[in-house]
């Protein structure tokens, strides 16, 4: 008598096929498989949890509406991330960007994406360890395109060829955007250090004045 086989666990490919036929369980399976990653990306891009939830829901809604057209030419996660990035960028374009003037703190060399060359000013070191809170704040100040590439590459761990597919750009463009994002972040963090030093000097000065 043949031994009874345990039911085969649902794979992503099975779930996609079932979801294309409208299977509710398959939808939930795909959501549970990718939801945490998509939510993390949305949260990193917009910061506000309620906005991230809306964006995530919109991305999955689009995904499930169009899942019948998925032919597997690219990885499913890449396809999903492309939709997510499109939804996020669309929302960010509609919103007015933060009033922080990047020109005030950065003036990157557009040719190389290199740092601003302050004649006579020494390069400020970030002391080897970057404060995560400061970094998050600085990421928020990046233009959406830089922020997306930086998040996909340096946070989520995607390769440039995958990012190119997600963003609909060339690999070279992805590399260039990433480099510019990193150098801008460096300058934003350096500006934080300068501001901190200015604040400390001002506090010390006011204490001295009070002492007199």
């Amino acid at each position: 008598m043949p031994a009874r086989q345990a039911p085969k666990p649902l794979t992503e490919a099975d779930a996609i096929r079932l979801a294309q036929a409208g299977d509710a369980t398959a939808f939930e399976f795909l959501y549970s498989l990718h939801g945490r990653r998509v939510y993390a990306l949305c949260l990193r891009m917009v910061r506000e949890p309620s906005d991230a939830e809306d964006l995530m829901q919109e991305a999955f809604l689009q995904l499930f509406r169009k899942i019948g057209t998925f032919r597997g030419e690219s990885a499913f996660s890449t396809w999903l991330h492309r939709m997510t990035v499109n939804v996020v960028l669309m929302r960010l374009r509609k919103k007015t960007l933060p009033a922080t003037s990047l020109d005030e703190v950065t003036d990157p060399d557009d040719e190389t994406g290199g740092p601003r060359k302050d004649v006579g000013a020494p390069d400020l070191r970030l002391s080897g360890a970057v404060d995560r809170v400061n970094l998050e704040r600085s990421i928020e100040k990046l233009p959406p395109g830089y922020r997306t590439v930086f998040t996909l590459h340096d946070v989520q761990g995607y390769e440039h060829n995958e990012i190119a597919e997600i963003m609909g750009c060339s690999v070279g463009n992805s590399k260039s955007q990433l480099h510019k994002a990193r150098t801008r972040l460096r300058e934003l963090l350096q500006e934080d250090i300068r501001q901190h030093a200015r604040d400390e000097r001002a506090a010390a000065k006011s204490q001295t004045t009070e002492g007199d």
Binding site: R36, Q57, F60, G114, P115, L135
Partner: protein, 235 residues
């Protein structure tokens, strides 16, 4: 200070080839340039810090609930599961409405469905409000929690329902419009209870969902009591 042609080459090489591993031209240049050493070290620190950010964050359960409701509303879900119970309720409501129930019974059914929907909508709104105040928490593996005393209430109701069915064998069940309406109210309530229990399984500490479930159990107990009373008076 960075600015020499070699320093420009460093930036271009890093842009082209990345930081890890460092391109050969960069490695050759670094020992002789303190500024570029700082530049590379800073970029490296930024990347290291970024890699410590979580790549996955558990979204609140309400996102899936809301998404599922939207999918059901758009008719994208095919399976007859928990996900479509609400839709089925809606369809019953639409079909059954014109089938000659008295105004009073229509009102009862509508009130039950409306209360369920209002509770659900208020819950979603409140949960959204709460989430905008508290930042998202990192993923925490939660131990499954017993639904006590809710679990006891659920079990007691199932026993009560079983007794009701046993007391009224299929052939003797009244098929009056009143009984039909009560049966359908019970189905609507059961669908809502199933939804709450499903949500609580995934989020055992969701106090709001527990309150909804307790309220639904209470309604079901009253409904079953009414059905038993009717059974006694009919038989």
């Amino acid at each position: 200070m960075r600015g020499s042609p070699q320093c420009q080459d460093v930036a271009e090489a890093i842009e082209r080839e990345g930081l890890s591993p460092l391109p050969e031209t960069v490695r050759e240049h670094l020992p002789s340039c303190v500024a570029c050493q700082g530049f590379v070290a800073d970029l490296d620190s930024i990347v290291t810090a970024a890699r410590q950010f979580p790549t996955e964050v558990e979204p609140p359960a309400r996102v899936w609930i809301s998404l599922r409701a939207q999918l059901a509303a758009e008719g994208l879900l095919r399976e007859e599961g928990l996900a479509t119970e609400a839709t089925r309720g809606g369809r019953w409501w639409q079909k059954g409405w014109g089938h000659g129930f008295s105004g009073l019974l229509q009102g009862r059914a509508l009130a039950t469905a409306a209360v369920g929907l209002l509770i659900f909508a208020a819950g979603v709104a409140q949960l959204r409000h709460n989430s905008s105040i508290t930042p998202p928490q990192p993923i925490v593996k939660e131990q499954p929690q017993e639904l006590d005393p809710l679990a006891d209430s659920g079990a007691a109701l199932r026993t009560q329902e079983h007794e009701l069915r046993s007391a009224q064998p299929a052939g003797t069940l009244s098929s009056s419009p009143v009984d039909d309406s009560l049966q359908k109210d019970l189905q609507t309530l059961d669908a809502f209870i199933a939804e709450c229990e499903y949500h609580l399984k995934a989020n055992p500490h969701d106090q709001l969902a527990r309150e909804y479930l307790a309220g639904a159990y209470q309604q079901k107990a009253e409904l079953l009591a009414e059905m038993m009373d009717r059974g006694r008076s009919v038989n």
